[in-house]
C-alpha cells in the first residue's frame, strides 16, 4: 500500500502526461474497492443464509436452490460482468450511451405492457425471462448514469445554456416517470439525486439548480400536504394506496408493521447483537419472511451483530464510496469523473435510503441494499456499477 500511496500522491493527471514511464508502474486494479466489495459480499451471503435458513420451506430445499447459494452465483455472474465491462475503455462504452439510454427507455415502456411485464404484488417491474426475472429499472440506472455523464461531459460553456440544462433535466424525468408508472417509487426517486448531483459536479450553474430545487421542494411539499392531510373525497392526487400508507408511516401518522418490526430488530440488537442466526425477529418470523433477506436484510444484520455490525457495514460502504470519490478526482477527463460521481451517488442513495428506513429517517420505498440484499438484478447492477468505477480507475492515465 505504501508504494501505491506514494505514487498516488505524486501522480495527478497533468504530471502523468509527462511521465509515461512512471505511469506504467501504477496499479491498475483498485484493491481497496475490491477488498471492501468482497467484504460486503461475504456479509451478504452470510446473512441471507441467516435470514432464510430458519424458514422451513426454504431450508428443506437442496442447497443449490437456496437463496444464499443463488446469491453466490449472482456474485460470480456480477463479478464476471464487471470484469468484462472493464475490458473495454469507458470511452468506448460512452459512445454507445445514447443507444443504451433509448434501449432502456424502450424496456421501461415494455415492462408496463401487460403480457411482457410480470405483475407481482400489484406492480409491473419484472420481465420474466424464464430462469431469471429481469428488472429493467435496476439496469436503467446504469444506462442513465452513462448517458448523462456522456451528455454533460461537453465543454463547460455549453452547460451554462438553459437549453442544455433543461435537456439534462428531461433526461432524468423520462425514466423517472416511466419507473414511477410501474410503480416503483424507490427506484424512481434514486434517479433524482444521481442526476442532480452529476449535473452539479459537471458544472451546471448552481443558480439553475437552486431555482429548480426550490420549485421542486414547493411542489413536493404541496403534494405531500395534499396526500397526507386532505380528507378523502376532496381534490386529491391519486397515488397507490400502499404508497400513501408508506408516506403516512414515514410522517408518523400511521404505524407500519414492517417498519415497526424492523426497528424492533435493529434496536433489540443492542451494542453487540444476539449472534449470527440468533435474531429472534427472524427466527420467530416477526420480521416478514418475504423481505427479511432482501429489503430488510440490514435489520437482520443489525439484530444479530448489533451496533458493531452496523458500523462494520457502514465502514465498508464508506470505503467503497470514497474509493469512488478518489477515482472521480483522478479520472482522466470529465466523462470519467462524472461516471464515478454518478455511481457513487447511486450507491450512496441506495445505502442511505435502505438503512435510513430501518431507523425511520427515510420512508419505506423498497429499494435494495447494494450487495447485501438478495436479488439478481440488484447484484448485477451494483457490481457493474463498481465495474464502472474500476474502469475509470483503470483507464485514468491512458490514451
Amino acid at each position: 500500500m505504501g508504494h501505491w500511496l506514494q505514487s498516488g500522491e505524486k501522480t495527478d493527471g497533468r504530471i502523468a502526461m509527462y511521465e509515461p514511464v512512471l505511469n506504467e508502474r501504477q496499479r491498475r486494479i483498485d484493491w481497496a474497492l475490491l477488498t471492501s466489495l468482497l467484504g460486503l459480499m461475504v456479509i451478504g451471503v452470510a446473512f441471507i443464509y441467516s435470514a432464510t435458513s430458519v424458514q422451513e420451506s426454504i431450508s428443506r430445499l437442496p442447497w443449490y436452490r437456496q437463496y444464499y447459494f443463488l446469491q453466490i452465483l449472482w456474485f460470480g455472474l456480477g463479478l464476471g460482468a464487471a470484469f468484462g465491462f472493464c475490458l473495454v475503455d469507458y470511452h468506448v462504452w460512452a459512445r454507445w450511451s445514447l443507444v443504451l439510454y433509448w434501449a432502456m427507455v424502450a424496456m421501461l415502456v415494455a415492462v408496463l405492457i401487460p403480457g411482457i411485464g410480470a405483475l407481482r404484488f400489484g406492480a409491473r417491474r419484472w420481465i420474466d425471462l424464464g430462469i431469471f426475472q429481469f428488472q429493467p429499472s435496476e439496469f436503467s440506472k446504469l444506462a442513465f448514469i452513462f448517458a448523462q455523464a456522456h451528455f454533460l461531459s461537453r465543454p463547460a460553456e455549453e452547460l451554462r445554456q438553459p437549453a442544455v440544462f433543461w435537456k439534462g433535466i428531461g433526461m432524468i424525468l423520462l425514466p423517472f416517470v416511466l419507473i414511477l408508472r410501474e410503480p416503483d417509487l424507490g427506484s424512481a426517486l434514486v434517479l433524482l439525486p444521481v442526476g442532480l448531483v452529476t449535473m452539479y459536479v459537471a458544472g451546471v450553474p448552481v443558480a439553475f439548480l437552486r431555482r429548480l430545487m426550490t420549485g421542486a421542494t414547493i411542489l413536493i411539499a404541496l403534494l405531500l400536504v395534499d396526500i397526507l392531510f386532505m380528507p378523502p373525497g376532496w381534490w386529491q392526487i391519486k397515488v397507490q394506496d400502499y404508497q400513501r400508507r408508506r408516506l403516512l408511516v414515514y410522517f408518523g401518522r400511521e404505524d407500519s408493521y414492517n417498519v415497526r418490526q424492523a426497528m424492533i430488530s435493529v434496536g433489540a440488537g443492542g451494542l453487540t447483537g444476539k449472534g449470527w442466526r440468533q435474531g429472534a425477529q427472524t427466527v420467530l418470523g416477526f420480521l416478514p419472511r418475504g423481505v427479511a433477506h432482501n429489503d430488510f436484510i440490514f435489520s437482520v444484520i443489525a439484530e444479530e451483530k448489533g451496533f458493531i455490525g452496523s458500523v462494520t457495514v457502514l465502514a465498508l460502504y464508506t470505503m467503497v464510496l470514497f474509493t469512488g470519490l478518489r477515482t472521480a478526482s483522478r479520472a482522466r477527463d470529465r466523462l470519467g469523473k462524472l461516471l464515478a460521481v454518478g455511481v457513487v451517488t447511486l450507491l450512496f442513495s441506495h445505502v442511505f435510503i435502505n438503512i435510513g428506513m430501518n431507523i425511520r429517517i427515510m420512508p419505506v420505498t423498497g429499494i435494495p441494499l447494494p450487495l447485501l440484499s438478495y436479488g439478481g438484478s440488484s447484484v448485477l447492477c451494483s457490481l457493474i456499477a463498481t465495474g464502472i468505477l474500476q474502469n475509470v480507475y483503470y483507464y485514468r492515465n491512458s490514451y
Partner: protein, 654 residues
C-alpha cells in the same frame, strides 16, 4: 490518505459531494447509535412483549403424613392428552389450500379476504376436530370438541396446548400408548393431582382444595398463562396452604408471529411444597371413624382422641364425612349441593366447629368447683327426691330417688345432687374453674374451622345484667347440669378431660408435629411445633382431681355406672356420660350423647371424647363407641409394632 485525496484537487464540487456523503453516513451512524445503544432497552422490551409468554407452573404440593409417616394426602400422576396445534400447521395449510381451490372453483372467482379468513377458521376447527375424532377411536371413548371452545382457545391461549382429555383411565392410557400411528400433535402430559389416600378418612381435618386461577404474576408480565393450580380452602390444606403449596415456577414460551409456540424454556423452576407431619395416628383415626360409623354412615357426631400427657391429638373425627377427592380436579355442582345439606352439614367439622350443650359431662367442672370450695364432701350423703324443685320449676332426674354420696351421685349422674351443691357453690366459683379449662375460648387448632363455644364469663354476665336479663338461680341450676347458656366443642372437652387425667395441666392441643421439606427419606425440618405446650394449670388440690378420677372410673366399672358400656377387659377406663337435652327448632327435644373418658386409670395415655348429635343417652350411644376405640388402641398396643414410634418412646420415659 485516500479519504483526503479528493480534497487536494481543489475541486469544490467533489468536496461538497464528499462532505454531503460524510454527513449522510454520520447521520446514519448517529441514528443507529440512538436506536441500538440509547434506546435498545425499549426495543428489547417490545420484542419481549410480542414474542414472550410466561407460563406459571404450579409446584408439587406437599404431603400430609401421620405421626408414623403414613400418607393422608399425597399426589398421584394424572395423565392428560393435549394437542399441540403448531404441529398441525402443515395439515392446516394443506387443507386450507384445498378448501380455497374448491371454493373458488365453485364460485368461479377469487375469494375475498373475509371469505378466506372465515374459511381458514373453519378449516382449522375441522382439522382439529378430526384429530379429536381419531383420538376418540383410539381411546374408544366418545370425545367431542365444541367449535366455540376451540376458537376461544385459538384466540386466547394459542401458546398453550389444547387440552383434549384429562385424567385418563388406565385402559385409556394403555390404548393411547399402544397406538403406533397417532395423529400429529397429540401429547401425553403428566400432571400431579392431589389424592387423599384414605378417601373420606379425616376429611374434615385435612380439608379440601379448590381450583384457582386468580394469581398475581410475580413479575410484571404482559402475557401470562397460569396452569391449573389448587388452593387449600379449609382444614390443614387451608391453614397450611402456603407451606404445602410451595412456590410456583415459571417457564417461558417464545411464540412466532402467528402466535404459535416456537420453543420453551424453564425460567424459574417450581419449588415443591413442604410436607406436614401430624400428631395424628392413622390407625386410631381409622378406629375412631369406624366406631363412630357403627351407628350409621350419616351419624352426626365427633370423636377426639388426645394424649393427656402432652396435648397431642391422635384422632380427630367428624361425621357425616365427605370425600375430599371429589374436589379434585373439580366438584360437580350436584355433589356440592349434597355437601351443603342443611341437616347433615357434611362440610362442618363437628369436633372443632360444633358447639353443643355438654350435659352431664359438665358435672366434672361443677364437682371440681364444689370440692375445691369445700361445699362438696365426698362422703356426705344427700337425699334425692328423684327430681329437684327450685321455686315452681321442677328439674327432672334420670337417677332415682335415694341417698347419694359423691361417688354414687357422679356415677349415676344425679342431677339433684349436682344442682343442690352447684347452687351452694355458686356460679362464680364454677365459672372460675371453667375459665381455667379455657371453656368459651378457641383451642387454636390450625383448621380454619373452629368455634369458641359459649361459657358465661364475667363480661357475658355483665352484658346480660345490662340487658335486664341477669342470670337467675334457675339458669344456674340448669348450667350445673350442663344445659342452658353453655356450649362446648368436643375438642374443648378433650382438653378438659386431659387436664383432669394428667393432674391439672391444661395443654394447647397439638395437631401438627412439624413441617419438613420434601426429600427422601426425610427432609429437612422447616418448622417444629413443640409438644406439651402448657396453656395453664388448674391450680387445684391433686386430691380433688383424684376424687373425680375415681368417680369416673366407677362410672365405667361400677355395675350401676352410666358409662359401663365403655368397659374393656384389662384396661381401666374412666369416663363420664352426658346427655344434653336440646330443644329442636321444630319443637320437642333431641338428646345429644356425650362420653368423655381417659385410660388407663393408673397412667392416663389416652383421652377419648365421643359426641353424637341426637344420639340419645350418652351411656347407651357414645360409651360403646368409646369402647370400640379403646379396644382398637388395646389391640395396637399389644402389637407394639416398632413402627409405633414416638408414642412408644414417650411411654418408656414415663
Amino acid at each position: 490518505m485516500l479519504i483526503f485525496n479528493p480534497f487536494k484537487k481543489g475541486d469544490r464540487a467533489l468536496l461538497v459531494l464528499t462532505v454531503a456523503i460524510l454527513a449522510g453516513i454520520g447521520l446514519l451512524l448517529l441514528g443507529l447509535w440512538y436506536v441500538q445503544v440509547v434506546c435498545s432497552r425499549r426495543y428489547l422490551a417490545s420484542q419481549k412483549v410480542q414474542s414472550f409468554r410466561a407460563v406459571r407452573v404450579p409446584a408439587l404440593r406437599g404431603k400430609i403424613l401421620d405421626r408414623n409417616g403414613n400418607a393422608l394426602a399425597e399426589n398421584r400422576p394424572s395423565f392428560n392428552v393435549d394437542l399441540y396445534l403448531e404441529e398441525l400447521r402443515d395439515v392446516f395449510q394443506e387443507e386450507f389450500s384445498r378448501a380455497v381451490a374448491q371454493q373458488s372453483s365453485i364460485l368461479h372467482r377469487r375469494l375475498t379476504r373475509d371469505e378466506r379468513s372465515e374459511l381458514g377458521k373453519h378449516t382449522r376447527y375441522w382439522v382439529v376436530s378430526n384429530v379429536v375424532q381419531q383420538l376418540s377411536q383410539i381411546l374408544q371413548t366418545p370425545l367431542s370438541l365444541a367449535e366455540n371452545d376451540f376458537l376461544k382457545h385459538y384466540t386466547n391461549s394459542l401458546v398453550m396446548p389444547l387440552p383434549i382429555l384429562d385424567d385418563l383411565t388406565p385402559e385409556q392410557l394403555a390404548r393411547f400408548q399402544e397406538q403406533p400411528d397417532k395423529p400429529p400433535g397429540l401429547n401425553l402430559e403428566i400432571q400431579p393431582l392431589r389424592v387423599y389416600t384414605n378417601g373420606t378418612l379425616a376429611a374434615h381435618m385435612l380439608g379440601h382444595l379448590q381450583r384457582t386461577v386468580d394469581f398475581a404474576p410475580e413479575e410484571d408480565l404482559p402475557f401470562f398463562y397460569p396452569l391449573p393450580d389448587f388452593e387449600g380452602k379449609v382444614g390443614l390444606e387451608g391453614a397450611f396452604d402456603q407451606e404445602l403449596r410451595g412456590h410456583a415456577g415459571y417457564k417461558y414460551v417464545l411464540v412466532n408471529n402467528m402466535g404459535y409456540r416456537q420453543s420453551e424454556n424453564v425460567w424459574q423452576p417450581a419449588e415443591p411444597g413442604h410436607n406436614l407431619i401430624l400428631t395424628i395416628d392413622l390407625r386410631i383415626q381409622k378406629a375412631a371413624e369406624q366406631a363412630l360409623h357403627s351407628n350409621g354412615a350419616d351419624v352426626k357426631g365427633a370423636v377426639v382422641v388426645m394424649d393427656p400427657r402432652n396435648g397431642d391429638l391422635l384422632a380427630l373425627a367428624s361425621s357425616p364425612t365427605y370425600d375430599p377427592n371429589q374436589f379434585v380436579p373439580r366438584i360437580s355442582s350436584e355433589e356440592y349441593q349434597r355437601l351443603l345439606d342443611p341437616d347433615l352439614h357434611p362440610l362442618i367439622n363437628r369436633a372443632t366447629y360444633g358447639a353443643f350443650a355438654p350435659g352431664s359431662i359438665f358435672k366434672i367442672v361443677v364437682a371440681l368447683a364444689g370440692l375445691e370450695s369445700g361445699i362438696i364432701h365426698p362422703d356426705v350423703v344427700y337425699h334425692s327426691k328423684g327430681y329437684y324443685q327450685l321455686g315452681r320449676k321442677i328439674f327432672h332426674d334420670e337417677a332415682p330417688a335415694g341417698d347419694y354420696n359423691f361417688r354414687l351421685a357422679f356415677l349415676k349422674s344425679s342431677n339433684s345432687y349436682f344442682i343442690e351443691f352447684g347452687l351452694q357453690t355458686g356460679w362464680d366459683r364454677i365459672m372460675a374453674i371453667g375459665q381455667r379449662f379455657f371453656l368459651g375460648h378457641l383451642a387454636r387448632v390450625p383448621l380454619l374451622q373452629e368455634r369458641s363455644g359459649l361459657f358465661p364469663n364475667p363480661n357475658w354476665l355483665e352484658r346480660r345484667a345490662v340487658l335486664g336479663e341477669p342470670l337467675q338461680s334457675g339458669d344456674v341450676a340448669n348450667l350445673c347440669i350442663g344445659q342452658g347458656y353453655i356450649a362446648v366443642t368436643p375438642l374443648q372437652m378433650a382438653v378438659m378431660t386431659s387436664a383432669v387425667a394428667n393432674g391439672g395441666k391444661v395443654f394447647w392441643p397439638r395437631l401438627v408435629d412439624r413441617i419438613e421439606s420434601q426429600g427422601s427419606p426425610h427432609g429437612e425440618v422447616i418448622t417444629a411445633f413443640s409438644p406439651g405446650r402448657l396453656r395453664g394449670d388448674l391450680g387445684v388440690q391433686p386430691y380433688h382431681l383424684k376424687v373425680i378420677r375415681d368417680a369416673m372410673r366407677a362410672d365405667v366399672e361400677d355395675s350401676e355406672g352410666t358409662g359401663q358400656r365403655a368397659a374393656v377387659p384389662e384396661m381401666r377406663i374412666c369416663g363420664k356420660t352426658g346427655t344434653a337435652q336440646v330443644a329442636r327448632p321444630e319443637g320437642g327435644f333431641r338428646r345429644d350423647a356425650w362420653f368423655v373418658s381417659f385410660a388407663p386409670y393408673e397412667q392416663p395415655r389416652y383421652v377419648v371424647v365421643v359426641f353424637v348429635e341426637g344420639g340419645g343417652y350418652g351411656g347407651l350411644t357414645s360409651a360403646p363407641i368409646a369402647r370400640q376405640i379403646y379396644q382398637a388402641i388395646q389391640h395396637l398396643e399389644r402389637q407394639s409394632s416398632p413402627s409405633y414410634g414416638s408414642l412408644a418412646a414417650v411411654r418408656r420415659k414415663d
